[in-house]
């Protein structure tokens, strides 16, 4: 669960990226975050990951009160969140398997579990045949599926995705969102930032629109695929 109460973020440069935002994302939700460039979407993501701190207000993520969170507890918070970025951010000298297994090694998981779990999530994103490839041997869509597998491998409560489809073909975008929907159906909360209105219109669901740092629209709309 993510809860923002009267949250403002002001960068040291003086830019007010978020202004008095109130937002609650409940467990099991699937929400799209939309808004023009510079609206403050990535700022919201960074806030949830505790990469930056709110200048005002309280942020609670998966039970962690971020304004009271000590530095050395940040890894604990991040282990409850899976992240997907526009630019994939895979480690280039690790294979697909290693990139994903890494997340489990970080939490000191037993080797036996790693050996079972990693191939399982790789099969979920349909990359069984690329297990031992390196990131630069994969297409953008494939790399993003690896990133997705990495995000969900430790079974996080929340997955946040900052324009996960920004660098891949539009047709493949649908595939990625389908995958996210599937993960959501198993109970994981999903927060996805996107520019692509087609995608939002197609899938529908909860839409949060941000404009110049304020939430200007937050409602559930029906998607095309539900009409079909």
């Amino acid at each position: 669960m993510v809860e923002l109460k009267n949250v403002s973020v002001k960068y040291p440069s003086g830019v007010e990226a978020l202004k008095n935002v109130n937002l609650t994302i409940n467990d099991g939700d699937f929400a799209f975050v939309v808004g023009s460039s510079g609206a403050g979407k990535s700022t919201l993501i960074k806030l949830i990951l505790r990469e930056i701190e709110a200048t005002k207000g309280t942020v609670i993520v998966n039970g962690f009160n971020l304004s009271k969170l000590k530095r050395d507890k940040i890894p604990k918070l991040r282990r409850t969140i899976g992240v997907v970025f526009q630019d994939f951010r895979l480690i280039p000298n690790m294979t697909v398997y290693e990139n994903i297994a890494f997340v489990l090694r970080v939490i000191d998981a037993p080797l036996k579990y790693i050996r079972k779990r990693v191939p399982y999530v790789i099969s979920l994103v349909g990359l069984q045949h690329k297990v031992h490839s390196y990131p630069d041997e994969l297409s953008g869509g494939e790399q993003q599926r690896v990133a997705l597998a990495r995000a969900l491998v430790n079974d996080p409560q929340l997955i946040i995705a900052d324009e996960p489809t920004g660098n891949i073909d539009p047709e493949l975008s649908y595939e990625i969102v389908e995958l996210l929907k599937g993960i959501n159906n198993c109970g994981t909360t999903i927060l996805m930032v996107t520019h692509e209105h087609d995608l939002v219109r197609h899938f529908g669901g909860r839409i949060i629109s941000i404009n110049s740092g304020s939430v200007v629209f937050d409602e559930i709309i029906g998607g095309n695929d539900e009409i079909k």
Binding site: P75, R79, R89, I91, N93, F102, V103, V106, L111
Partner: protein, 301 residues
């Protein structure tokens, strides 16, 4: 932490070396040069010390006794001398012995001695070796307090020179060694800084998935340590050959060593183990610290 996690982190460290060959090689070279500079300075220091100790051991204080000192008195002086704390050995040198010695050493001047007949102009004496020559002064005045002492001959000026020389050598060597250690730390942490900078993206990814700073650091630590140990091995081999060659040159031409009044350098065999261990430990510590220092800045994501 689980054993397999520890193994994993060690493997990452070794893999990192393979992936960053050029950087690893640069660190290796910097470490090797620093180790060799410090190592040779230390070896030089060890040998100089040995030489000084050699000279020190040759010190001799001669205590001349009054003429006609009785045998009993000589015995009791002998005991008193031996009882003194700073005296290592006491050897009695009778006037007859001294006279015979003198005659033998001046065989050409037989005529002179003939005219003297059996009239021995010399006196009995003790030859003494001091334990710590820095306290020669004190020991001499202690001996002076005994009765029947005619005079004492002690190499006091020589002791002063030697002590001064020793102090200068120590100060110079220690300063050189400290300076070298500082310089190499700076160079090493800069070299690894470059390699950490090249991997800052990787580090930030690790932080996003919830890796602790320690977890991120261990592979860097292992990498630095292994590079350091390798430098230590290379430094040991280089020193071995270099030092042996040096010893051979110096001992072949014995005159060079004789100028210093000594006939030997410490052979490498005697030092091999401590040299190898010190090189490897120093290399490992320097490498690891250099790596850890340089990761600090990039861990704040």
């Amino acid at each position: 932490m689980r054993l397999n996690s520890v193994k994993y982190l060690f493997k990452q460290g070794t893999r990192n070396i393979a992936y960053n060959k050029l950087m690893a090689f640069a660190s290796f070279c910097v470490l090797l040069v620093s180790l060799l500079l410090v190592g040779f300075s230390l070896l030089f220091y060890v040998n100089i010390n040995l030489l000084v100790a050699d000279i020190e051991a040759k010190n001799e204080v001669i205590v001349f006794l009054d003429e006609d000192t009785s045998d009993e008195r000589i015995n009791s002086i002998n005991k008193s001398l031996k009882a003194m704390e700073n005296i290592d050995t006491v050897v009695f040198y009778s006037k007859e012995e001294a006279f015979a010695h003198l005659k033998a050493s001046m065989a050409d001047s037989e005529v002179l001695f003939d005219s003297m007949g059996d009239d021995n102009p010399l006196v009995d004496s003790f030859k003494i070796r001091i334990k710590d020559i820095n306290f020669t002064d004190e020991t001499v005045s202690e001996i002076e307090k005994l009765d029947n002492i005619l005079s004492i001959r002690a190499p006091l000026e020589f002791v002063d020179i030697l002590t001064g020389l020793k102090r200068v050598i120590s100060i110079i060597s220690v300063s050189i060694i400290i300076a070298l250690i500082i310089v190499s730390m700076v160079i090493i942490s800069n070299t690894t800084k470059a390699s950490v900078f090249a991997r800052r993206k990787e580090i930030s990814i690790m932080k996003y998935v919830g890796a602790t700073n320690a977890f991120i650091r261990i592979p860097f630590f292992v990498e630095g340590m292994l590079t350091g140990i390798l430098s230590g091995v290379a430094a040991t081999l280089t020193t071995w050959f270099g030092y042996d060659a040096l010893v051979r040159v110096l001992t072949q031409d014995n005159d060079i060593l004789k100028i210093f009044g000594t006939g030997s350098l410490v052979p490498f065999k005697d030092l091999a183990l401590s040299v190898a261990v010190s090189y490897m430990v120093a290399g490992a510590v320097l490498g690891a610290i250099g790596c850890v220092i340089s990761t600090r800045k990039h861990l704040k994501v």
